[in-house]
């Protein structure tokens, strides 16, 4: 059994398969960008991409995603270290305050824009409905996602 995390194929031993996925990522792989804030899949801070689809993973075990391709927030920036245009939009639009929801929010928005590169603001709001933010009132997050959308519309592999 293997799992692909941010492009790297990893072997999964039987004891790892039974672990909580969020612990495997945070403890074993030290990918601490994935947050755990409610344990019941209610807040979205643990969202990551499984085969490019957003999933709240705090209730998942590793075996439930074995064989899949996982993208965490650490895997979104370019290999040369520059920010993905969506990340840059979050920075430029003041969409980040405490930052605890940011990884899940960015990944949810990324998955949404991959499929819907020309969204309305209302569609953006619906897309991030499951990701809670207590700091921003979502206004600048929606601004950032709207500003990044044209990049997705004009690039074949955004």
């Amino acid at each position: 059994m293997t799992i692909t995390v941010n492009g790297t194929v990893r072997e999964l031993t039987p004891d790892v398969l039974q672990k909580r996925l969020v612990e495997y990522l945070r403890e074993d792989l030290d990918l601490t960008g994935t947050k755990n804030a409610c344990d019941i899949g209610a807040c979205g801070a643990c969202t990551l991409l499984i085969d490019d689809l957003p999933l709240k993973i705090c209730t998942k075990r590793v075996h439930e995603v074995a064989g899949k391709r996982i993208t965490t927030i650490e895997g979104l920036a370019r290999n040369d270290g520059t920010l993905h245009p969506l990340q840059q939009a979050f920075v430029d639009h003041g969409a980040i305050q405490c930052g605890f929801c940011t990884p899940g929010m960015v990944l949810t928005a990324h998955a949404f824009l991959l499929k819907h590169p020309t969204p309305t603001r209302s569609e953006i709001r619906r897309a991030i409905y499951g990701n809670l933010c207590r700091c921003t009132g979502y206004q600048q997050i929606v601004d950032a996602i709207a500003a990044a959308a044209p990049y997705y519309a004009t690039h074949s592999q955004p």
Binding site: D39, I96, C101, G137, Y138
Partner: protein, 752 residues
């Protein structure tokens, strides 16, 4: 000052957007142990004993800690030392912690926590604050002889005369709920004993200095033997003061007793169960006016449910008292305020700090009174609002800053076309399924702590030999962008690019105790200290370079990375000046302390200069009420606030939007359900904070009247934005449906 065209700037955005920021739970320590708290089923009970034997024998358990293991003091509190690190004599609310289980893994600690047995005899619970105030009521703390935590009062003018000259009297009762802060990051602490014997504390808390006091008291060691290190924090909103400090103190005790690093990470349901909330208020309010719309008298009684422990209830209710008439001149005022112990969840500081409750009351009352007088609610506000030179209900003359009440009101009226739109509101008439409403509310707010406490802040600027700059302040980064604001203020004052500056995460062992990062005081107090430190540094630099520039130090200006002598046109670069200082062994190091201007308070009559300056704000909202479903759909919201001077525009707007969102949650969504002292909705699925779809589009209007009392000219914004949406929404719902709501959160009942 703020540049409209510049993208947002903050020092931690890159790390946060890439997931690299290390919050407390992300830090790695070798040989780490895990701790979990143990609660009891009780709400109020005499505690006879805690049996930890089975838990201690459970696999992986290293230690089970109870009140008996505390070497120092088990009791603390910022005002009254009634909080227990571990319950000792009684269980006083359902969130009291009786023990801490420390084990090799978190799962082992969780399993063992189930095995702790609590021996306690239930007592009748005190759940209603008005009942709790009566003589003979069951006491939450017997040693105090009363359940009344504190009282405040205002006696101004002659209340009987005030109502005698009034021609219209409006009288109502209001009630507001408990509110959970719902910061995204639950409480967490990691502590370890360093090789030099110092206890190192990393944690999610917004008051490192009180955390240090608590840890030092619990361990019975000097303050110098505890170092609390500022760690990125996933939100606070006032909620990570005393109960978050207790979490740190427990982890520190566990680290001391086991000799190993210990992490105490809270699950969301523990966080909601144990942490303090915004106070529920019951307010009886009577207002007398002349037919011409002049408010003559206000009589009000405010009762705050303080829960099981005092926390900062006296300070929260003091602000409510000072601001109990809103931003209006009222000649005759009689106000009695009570903070009351109950066995309900603990209540304390939350963004707004006593103002969201009273503003909901006052700004609803103004609209109700205007309707009774058949007058425009805007006109009624204009007649009574504070203006330059006005005297507040506590006798403070507003003459040391720009009183911008009318300016912010006019800005919102213009932006929303309010007065035309409000005339189209049906107030329940007509048959449309969805009815349109617009409403507004306004406030003034005393800045920072006021007469609640001694108010000062320290900052250090330490320029390195290559011209790079380190700054540190006693203000904590809660997520709001405080570090970035301090850096921008330093850059502005020193005339250098912000890229030169690195904010050194503060340590309680380096910077003096500067109080807590609450009360919207970060920018005004921290920014004031940074400004004064920068001015001191400039003086030192100027004295060094002036002789070579053949001028007096006072003639030099710092701008664009240069030190300039305008009369002669001579200049030298900031870098060269710093090199010169090092070569002369005059170190470019400066320390600034901003002490807030003096305030005064007479507790007997509730009179005095309560705050050294004030901020002014107005917010409006447009919405639709569906008469069949009762659903409220928000359309647009606008806010105007006088911030003194804008430091970081995008972050400032973020404070507007975030505060408005919390206000919307307060108005329509958030209701901590407490039944017989037990919280029923202790996670984010059932306690409903606003989601993206619940929010309207928002607009922020920044008004800048530089404040002479503030060294940086900036004032406050975090809380003012959070104290107006509830009454604005209540007023808009009335204008749509014709129905007035006196309780929060507002539930519109479907018709028919």
């Amino acid at each position: 000052m703020a540049d409209l065209n510049k993208p947002a700037w903050r020092n931690d955005a890159f790390a946060k957007v890439t997931g690299r920021t290390r919050y407390t739970d992300d830090l790695k320590f070798p040989n780490l142990l895990h701790a979990v708290p143990v609660y009891s089923e009780h709400v109020h009970a005499t505690l006879r004993g805690v049996d930890t034997r089975a838990a201690a024998a459970s696999e992986g358990v290293v230690r089970v800690i109870t009140a008996r293991d505390v070497p120092g003091t088990n009791r603390f509190g910022q005002i009254v030392q009634d909080f227990r690190v571990f319950a000792d004599d009684r269980i006083r609310h359902n969130g009291d912690v009786v023990a801490l289980v420390v084990a090799q893994t978190r799962d082992q600690a969780l399993r063992a926590a189930e095995m702790v047995r609590v021996d306690a005899i239930p007592l009748p619970s005190v759940l209603d604050p008005e009942e709790a105030m009566k003589p003979g009521a069951m006491l939450v703390h017997e040693e105090f002889g009363t359940n009344i935590i504190n009282t405040h009062r205002i006696r101004r003018g002659d209340i009987e005369e005030g109502f005698r000259v009034s021609e219209v009297i409006v009288e109502h009762e209001f009630a507001t709920p408990w509110v959970e802060h719902a910061y995204m990051e639950p409480e967490v602490a990691v502590c370890q004993v360093r090789s030099d014997g110092v206890m190192e504390v990393y944690g999610s808390m917004q008051h490192p200095f009180s955390t240090r006091r608590f840890v030092s008291a619990v361990l019975g060691v000097p303050l110098a033997d505890v170092e609390v290190i500022g760690t990125p924090m996933g939100g606070g909103f006032g909620g990570k003061d005393d109960t978050a400090a207790i979490v740190c103190a427990r982890a520190a005790l566990a680290a001391r007793l086991t000799g190993r690093p210990v992490k105490l990470m809270y699950r969301r349901d523990w966080s909601i169960r144990e942490s303090y909330k915004r106070h529920p208020y019951r307010v009886k309010y009577k207002m007398g006016l002349t037919r011409a719309g002049r408010i003559k008298a206000v009589h009000c009684t405010i009762i705050a449910d303080g829960g099981a422990y005092c926390s900062v209830t006296p300070w929260v209710t003091w602000r409510s008292t000072v601001q109990c008439c809103g931003p209006y001149e009222v000649p005759h005022v009689h106000c009695d305020t009570f903070g009351v112990y109950t066995n309900n969840p603990v209540t304390g500081a939350m963004r707004g700090f006593g103002s969201p409750q009273v503003n909901f009351v006052v700004e609803s009352m103004i609209d109700i009174a205007a309707q009774r007088l058949n007058m425009s609610a805007i006109e009624l506000r204009r007649i009574n609002m504070v203006r330059q030179g006005s005297v507040t209900i506590t006798g403070q003359k507003l003459d040391n800053h720009t009183v911008a009440m009318e300016q912010v009101l006019d800005a919102v009226l213009r932006e929303t076309d309010f007065e035309n739109k409000v005339r189209t509101c049906p107030r329940g008439a007509g048959h449309e399924e969805e009815q349109y409403g617009i409403g507004l509310a306004m406030s003034y707010r005393g800045v920072s702590l006021g007469a609640e406490g001694v108010d000062f802040c320290a900052a250090m600027i330490n320029v390195q030999a290559d011209g790079s700059i380190l700054i540190e302040t006693g203000i904590h980064e809660n997520g709001q962008g405080a570090e970035s604001a301090m850096m921008l203020i330093a850059a502005r004052e020193l005339g250098v690019a912000v890229e030169r500056i690195r904010y050194r995460r503060s340590s309680t062992s380096v910077i003096p105790d500067s109080g807590t990062t609450v009360a919207s005081r970060g920018t005004i107090m921290g920014g004031g200290a940074v400004t004064l430190a920068a001015q001191d540094l400039k003086q030192k630099i100027a004295e060094t370079v002036a002789p070579a520039m053949d001028c007096l130090p006072g003639e030099l200006e710092f701008r664009d990375e240069q030190i300039v002598h305008p009369p002669s046109g001579r200049s030298t670069s900031f870098d060269k000046a710093i090199q010169e200082m090092f070569s002369q062994k005059r170190f470019p190091h400066a320390f600034g302390v901003f002490k807030a201007p003096t305030v005064t308070w007479d507790e007997h009559d509730g009179q005095g200069k309560a705050y050294f300056t004030w901020v002014y704000g107005c917010q409006a909202i447009e919405l639709m009420v569906n008469r069949k479903t009762g659903k409220v759909r928000l359309l647009n919201a606008v806010a105007a606030h006088d911030v003194g001077s804008a430091v970081n525009r995008a972050m400032l707007e973020g404070q507007f939007y975030g505060g408005m969102a919390m206000g919307i949650g307060y108005a329509l969504h958030e209701d901590l359900e407490v039944v017989d002292g037990r919280i029923q909705n202790a996670n984010l699925n059932a306690y409903r904070i606003p989601r993206a779809m619940d929010m309207p589009e928002m607009k922020a209007i920044i008004i800048e009247n530089p404040d002479p009392e503030s060294p940086s000219a900036a004032k406050s914004i975090g809380e003012p934005t959070n104290e107006l949406m509830a009454p604005a929404i209540a007023n808009a719902i009335f204008n749509a449906s014709g129905k007035r709501h006196f309780h929060l959160p507002i539930r519109c009942v479907p018709e028919g």
